[in-house]
Amino acid sequence: MQVEMIPGVKSRPVYTPVTVNPRSQRQIFIAQDQIPAALQSLYDGCEQGEKSLLTVVTTGAAAAGGALSIDDLAQRVASLPQSSSFYLAGSEAFMWDIAKLLTDAGFISDQIAMLAPLSKERRLFCTHCYTLMDHVTHSPHVCSGCGRALLVRDHFSKIHRAYVGVQINAEDPADLPAAAEELS
């Protein structure tokens, strides 16, 4: 996977420019809901191997115009050869969900490339009640499960495909910062 880790916060993924692996027999490009220009141009420039450009629907709308559901995608990847490469585009949470689907199917992280996430939104994992929350943009964030104000850490958990949230100022939870900070 072309994801490196930042020194200091070792667990936060860094998304480096993606190039096509010319040795792969199958080249699979996967976008969330709509195909962003960066993925389209990567697909257009791919000249080696048999290529496919797939869209996966995550908005709850019915899959239309050849778009796939997550289950469709799982079925589709099951028949791919070992010599396949995957190029993912969408939100960070979407790309890691797809990476999980692929590794569950037996592929390894070396075969999975992620483009830069399309937004700064994070998926947050509450370490107190284990609730997962999507679309988190500010810290602290009030947990939708237990109501605690969570400090959104830069620590990314690959298992949960989410950033870790811990109760802010645990000694005195009533003592909150004056303003929430926008996440980068």
Partner: protein
């Protein structure tokens, strides 16, 4: 290195192939620790004038190690270790070994495991198989050997593994089609190789040509340090100068001179013995440092690497 060693008694010695001898070790004091499939120990061999230390894979059932089994192939270009084991070690002897360490564990997330053994490279898989059977894992063992020299345990393996066992006796003209083996790989099939460098290279090259990512290929090669031209190692902290003869490794020469260097696999794989180079140019022979690290020439793996220059000053 002497701290933490385990004393073991040689309980049995048996020839299991024309050039392979099996040794079973039982504990002298406490029970032997359990280990994980693919683990090895380093056996200390007090030869006349020189102490040999070689790494050998453990062949016992990892979770029930009543004894530790190793198999030693008499090397054609032995540096003394395998000759010592074959000619000097007798039933009842007491030897010292390191606790088990593992650089070749199975990738349990794999959906299928293809084990590729070359000659005495069957040994790590002898500890894989009981655990693979316990877990109901999907696996195949492909065993390449020369029946005039190696091929230990093939009859019992054939009996125990049935259709999962494939053997190729090159002395009988039988060849393994590596390409066909790789081509059947569905996603989730991982390949494990233990054998000579040529076998490992052949599989890696074939995988690369087929576009199979390197992460599916796992291998272990305990290449003994190869000889080279003599040179001198300077120990920066003490100013001590240690001569490394053509046949000794830098690590062995340092140990013989009483200089302790942390180490584990002694085969250029694990990275434990990495040492900073202050002066001189190393001749890198390891499989641990990246190409970029090697080109900087500011560190060296004394277990297998040597020197281009007449002397090498180490930050020891």
């Amino acid at each position: 290195m002497s701290e933490g060693l385990i004393e073991v008694r040689v309980a049995s010695v048996a020839d299991v192939a024309p050039k392979i001898r099996e040794f079973r070790f039982t504990p002298v004091a406490e029970a032997l620790p359990p280990f994980s499939p693919g683990a090895h120990v380093v056996v200390e061999m007090p030869g006349a004038g020189k102490t040999y230390r070689n790494a050998y894979s453990l062949m016992s059932d990892p979770f029930n190690p009543e004894n530790y089994g190793i198999a030693v192939r008499l090397q054609d270009e032995s540096r003394g270790g395998s000759v010592f084991m074959h000619t000097q070690v007798k039933e009842g002897d007491v030897l010292r070994i390191t606790p088990p360490a593992n650089l070749f564990a199975p990738h349990w997330a794999a959906k299928k495991h293809i084990l590729l053994a070359g000659g005495v490279g069957i040994t790590p898989f002898m500890s894989y198989l009981p655990e693979m059977q316990r877990r109901g894992a999907d696996y195949e063992l492909h065993y390449l050997f020369r029946s005039e020299q190696t091929g230990a345990y093939r009859d019992e393996l054939k009996k125990a593994l049935g259709e999962r066992f494939f053997s190729y006796d090159s002395d009988a003209g039988e060849k393994c089609d590596v390409r066909a083996l790789l081509a059947q790989g569905a996603p989730g099939t991982h390949i494990y190789i233990c054998g000579p460098e040529s076998l490992i290279h052949a599989v890696k090259a074939e995988a690369e040509a087929m576009g199979v990512p390197a992460g599916f290929i796992h291998y272990e090669e305990f290449a003994a340090p190869k000889p080279g031209k003599p040179f001198t190692v300077k120990v920066a902290s003490s100013g001590q100068e240690v001569a490394v003869s053509a046949d000794d490794s830098m690590l062995e020469a340092l140990e013989a001179a009483g200089v302790e260097v942390t180490n584990m696999c002694r085969g250029g794989v694990c990275g434990q013995c990495v040492t900073r180079v202050l002066e001189g140019t190393p001749e890198h022979r390891d499989d641990f440092l990246s190409a970029a690290e090697k080109s900087r020439n500011d560190c060296v793996m004394p277990c297998v690497s040597r020197a281009v220059t007449d002397s090498l000053t180490l930050d020891l």
